[in-house]
Symmetry: C2
Subunit: 156 residues, 2 copies
DNA sequence: GCTTTATAGTTTCATTTGAAACCATTTGCA
DNA sequence: TGCAAATGGTTTCAAATGAAACTATAAAGC
């Protein structure tokens, strides 16, 4: 009598989060991908450069949680397309100093508001109380929750 | 004086969900990827086959939210490795009928409990009230929220 | 029954991705 | 100073991925 410990994918939190996240990201990306010929990775790079000027490639990688190879490739395309300006830091010739060009800003100024509007629409289905809980829960999962998972593994 | 409508990635819900989801999935996958030489897609296929016997490849694709090419490839490897048995349906020779082999079950019986344990650890940082809200919010976002986003786009 | 259309699944090809190796510059320190 | 280790970034190579074309079988229309 084999009794198996069954996992129901559709109730499994990591799976549900993955589906939800991908569906949301795709919905937003659909908007700008063909319209501006902009990949998700490129957009993420532009997004942080719109927020913080003068970052290096590694800084961008940290802020976007992308790996540096992906950032390097995205930057190559963005510089190529005249959307980002790259110069070398005076004091450290390894580091690049990055900023959106005016062409880059023009795209940013169309994509960023659209993205925020999407977020607003998404959240419009939650009331204030639910949003507050969501905020709290996301923070908790990100800080303690993931730590708890990893701790359970690495101590084995 | 150009005033830009700035998007802060670290406060942007889609981005935060993406990071959270990827971090969680990676933490779990790390566990079984080398240990069983099992990719995430392969594991997802095995997970639904552990839950429902006799599905076809398309059925698996629907339940895992993967595309059928990915499922086809995962199945090729799983059958190859003797972890899944594939036969043809009598009434419809196009459809395959899939099931875990005993070898497949052995792996399932190790991976599924580990995955559930990870989920438990992750959720252990939330109290009952928070978990209830999370459940409610996830459902709401998945049903209404995504619809609201898409509606806002397609009516433009 | 025969032809068109739909469905299940695989293969092909081009693109994306990631890990590791790599080059250049800078930093630490004997 | 001078040499080892670290850091910023790019390139290379192999594997993963996705779209579209393709094969085989089944269902529908006439």
């Amino acid at each position: 009598m084999t009794e198996h410990h069954v996992l129901e994918l559709e109730r499994f939190l990591p799976y549900r989060l993955s589906i939800l996240s991908n569906t949301i990201s795709q919905a937003i990306a659909r908007e700008y991908e063909q319209r501006f010929e902009l990949s998700v990775t490129e957009w993420r790079v532009m997004a942080v450069l719109g927020r913080y000027e003068g970052l290096s490639a590694v800084d961008v990688a940290v802020r976007t949680a992308m790996d540096k190879v992906a950032v390097s490739r995205a930057l190559t395309r963005l510089v190529q397309a005249g959307r980002v300006k790259r110069t070398l830091a005076d004091r450290d010739k390894r580091r690049s100093v990055l900023a959106l060009t005016s062409k880059g800003w023009k795209i940013y100024d169309q994509v960023a508001p659209a993205a925020l509007e999407h977020e607003r629409q998404l959240l419009s289905t939650l009331d204030a109380e639910e949003r507050a809980w969501l905020e709290k829960i996301l923070i908790k999962l990100g800080t303690e929750g993931i730590g708890a998972m990893n701790a359970a593994v690495t101590t084995r």
